[in-house]
């Protein structure tokens, strides 16, 4: 009898804690959750969550601007991670339905991303893993390399779409040893005039929405220092760099080596 009791007790303790059911409404949160080793907790992700490959097999809850509230509710999550993109009404509606919502603030700097990592980890009961991941990522991009930063033009989307200083992308460039030529602008995402870009004469161009050929075909593109020195970079992964997630840090390291050689 005691043996059976012991076996039952052992079984209960050895069984994993009831698996947490989490829904992530933004691709960057999905990536962080997987990096925390908590991918198994996820029961629903947004339509745009495409990394890692396992995320593609999860239930889709709609796009991140207008998630399907009913679908989210039907998945019976214990916690839903949402952010500034989805708007307040999503959080309000889900809370009203009794679902626990963790609303993460918009990341305006790289440090904010590490903060997001910790917040997500805490909500999933994995504080230790959160700290470890934050430390690991920070180590990939601790501080800008020594020397003069390279004047960098970042085009996130074709047609002159770039970011000002209030963006983690601008901050990421700084950590990679670059200086966003529009970093002085107190704004996030905006469309910059080509003439202004020419005047600022960036030494390197980081392009995501347009090919090098088309970029150089723009009027007077040849006069840019970036063009003359052949520093038109299209090699970075767009999703990795433009999402405030764990892959950004690896891309920062790649950008650093592209801008400053093997430092």
């Amino acid at each position: 009898m005691a043996k059976i009791l012991a076996a039952v007790l052992l079984f209960c303790c050895a069984a994993p804690a009831r698996a947490l059911r989490a829904v992530s409404l933004l691709p960057s949160y999905t990536e962080i959750i997987f990096e925390l080793g908590a991918g198994g907790d996820l029961v629903g992700v947004s339509n745009f969550c495409n990394w890692p490959a396992e995320a593609a097999k999860l239930e889709r809850t709609g796009d991140y601007l207008r998630p399907n509230i009913e679908k989210v509710y039907a998945l019976q999550p214990d916690v839903v991670f949402t952010g500034a993109w989805a708007g307040e009404s999503v959080a309000k509606q889900l809370s009203a339905l009794g679902v626990k919502v963790v609303s993460l603030p918009e990341e305006k700097s790289v440090a904010d991303i590490l903060n997001t990592v910790r917040l997500i980890a805490a909500a999933l009961g994995r504080k230790k893993e959160g700290e470890a991941l934050a430390r690991k990522l920070a180590a990939l991009a601790p501080k800008p390399p020594a020397g003069e930063p390279v004047k960098l033009y970042i085009e996130v989307d074709a047609g002159g779409w770039t970011t000002g200083g209030l963006s983690f992308i601008s901050d990421a460039a700084r950590l990679a040893g670059g200086r966003n030529v529009f970093g002085g602008e107190k704004r996030g995402f905006f469309q910059a005039s080509w003439e202004e870009t020419l005047l600022l004469d960036p030494e390197a161009a980081l392009l995501f929405g347009v090919s090098e050929k088309d970029f150089l075909a723009r009027p007077m593109a040849g006069t840019l220092a970036a063009a003359r020195e052949g520093r038109v970079i299209t090699a970075l992964d767009r999703d990795a760099f433009t999402r405030p997630g764990p892959r950004l840090f690896g891309e920062i390291a790649r950008l650093r080596s592209l801008l400053h050689g093997k430092n």
């Binding site: 339509n47 745009f48 495409n50 796009d63 989307d157 074709a158 047609g159 002159g160 779409w161 529009f182 602008e185 704004r187 995402f189 905006f190 469309q191 910059a192 005039s193 080509w194 003439e195 202004e196 870009t197 020419l198 005047l199 929405g209 090919s211 088309d214 075909a217 723009r218 009027p219 007077m220 006069t223």
Partner: protein, 309 residues
């Protein structure tokens, strides 16, 4: 004629503004290589849309007609989305041809639908245009929602912008617009006669069906060329004929050239303003036109109320 010189003066002022304004000041390189092509593009698109608006307003006898009334802009956007999804570059000639074909095709589709329904009255055509526009716009939304990528640059195609005008595209569009404008002007009296209705025009000695078809072709081609060059810029086609009609009167003989000049001046000024007012950010010309559009409509409303009082 004092009125035409007023318009020419406005056009010259707009061109000067467009060539001289910008953060680089009066640097000759920038003016020649950057601002000049952009100014020429704005002139061409503005002229094309102004002409098309005047033609549609005349032939449909509808003062609220604009160049997109028969589905032209929806067709252009649908074609642009298809190109985008297929990976066609914005700068390639395939893009230009596809957008032109899409715009023109949508117009033709509206005409054909109205004809199928057996009713080619102006109201039926406008209804068909509304149906085609709605359907194509819904398709575009569907495609964008289903697509894995989300691109701001495509949405801003819809608002219209002259960010990078390719010289080949500029030349092709300008040529089409000039030819259509010239051919339309060469039968200006038919457009005036059409304003009295199909029956009235017939009894004056004009073939209403043929003239309507011809003007539709000219106006749609000009619109399609303008949209392929600068995206779907709103209000120019609608506002310009009303403004110049006040100056030159409604006869197509003066209205058509005035609408071309006026549209060119308006859009060039709007584009230059959008480029410089919030530097370094660039507001698309279509947004500037829309901002100007609301007060314009209030003014039209006030004016017609005053006329009735």
């Amino acid at each position: 004629m004092g009125k035409i010189s007023l318009l020419l003066g406005a056009l010259a002022a707009a061109c000067l503004f467009s060539l001289a304004a910008g953060p680089a000041g009066l640097a000759p390189d920038i003016i020649w290589n950057l601002r000049l092509p952009r100014t020429l593009a704005a002139l061409a698109v503005g002229a094309g849309l102004g002409l098309a608006g005047a033609m549609f307003q005349g032939v449909l006898k509808n003062p609220l007609a604009d160049p997109y009334i028969l589905g032209t802009s929806a067709g252009a956007t649908a074609a642009a989305v298809l190109c985008f999804l297929a990976g066609v570059e914005r700068s390639s000639p395939v893009f230009f041809l596809a957008v032109f074909a899409g715009a023109f095709g949508a117009t033709f589709l509206s005409y054909w639908l109205a004809r199928l329904a057996g009713r080619l009255s102006d109201a039926a055509l406008v209804l068909a245009g509304v149906a085609v526009s709605a359907f194509l716009s819904a398709l575009v939304m569907l495609a964008l929602t289903a697509a894995r990528e989300r691109s701001f640059s495509l949405f801003y195609f819809v608002l219209g912008g002259l960010y990078s005008a390719e010289p080949g595209v500029l030349a092709a569009s300008a040529l089409i617009i000039a030819v259509c404008g010239g051919l339309a002007l060469a039968r200006w009296r038919a457009l005036d006669a059409m304003a009295l209705g199909a029956e009235g025009a017939y009894h004056l000695g004009v073939r209403p069906e043929r003239e309507r078809a011809l003007f539709f072709v000219f106006a749609s081609a000009a619109t399609s060329a303008a949209v392929a060059l600068g995206g779907t810029i709103g209000f120019v086609g609608l506002m310009t004929p009303h403004i110049v009609r006040l100056l030159t009167g409604p006869s197509a003989r003066t209205l058509l050239p005035a609408a071309a000049l006026g549209g060119a001046a308006l859009l060039t000024a709007a584009d230059a303003a959008g480029r410089t007012l919030f530097s370094p950010a660039e507001i698309p010309a279509g947004v500037v036109m829309a901002l100007a559009g609301a007060p314009f409509f209030m003014w039209l409303l006030w004016r017609s109320a005053r006329g009735r009082a």
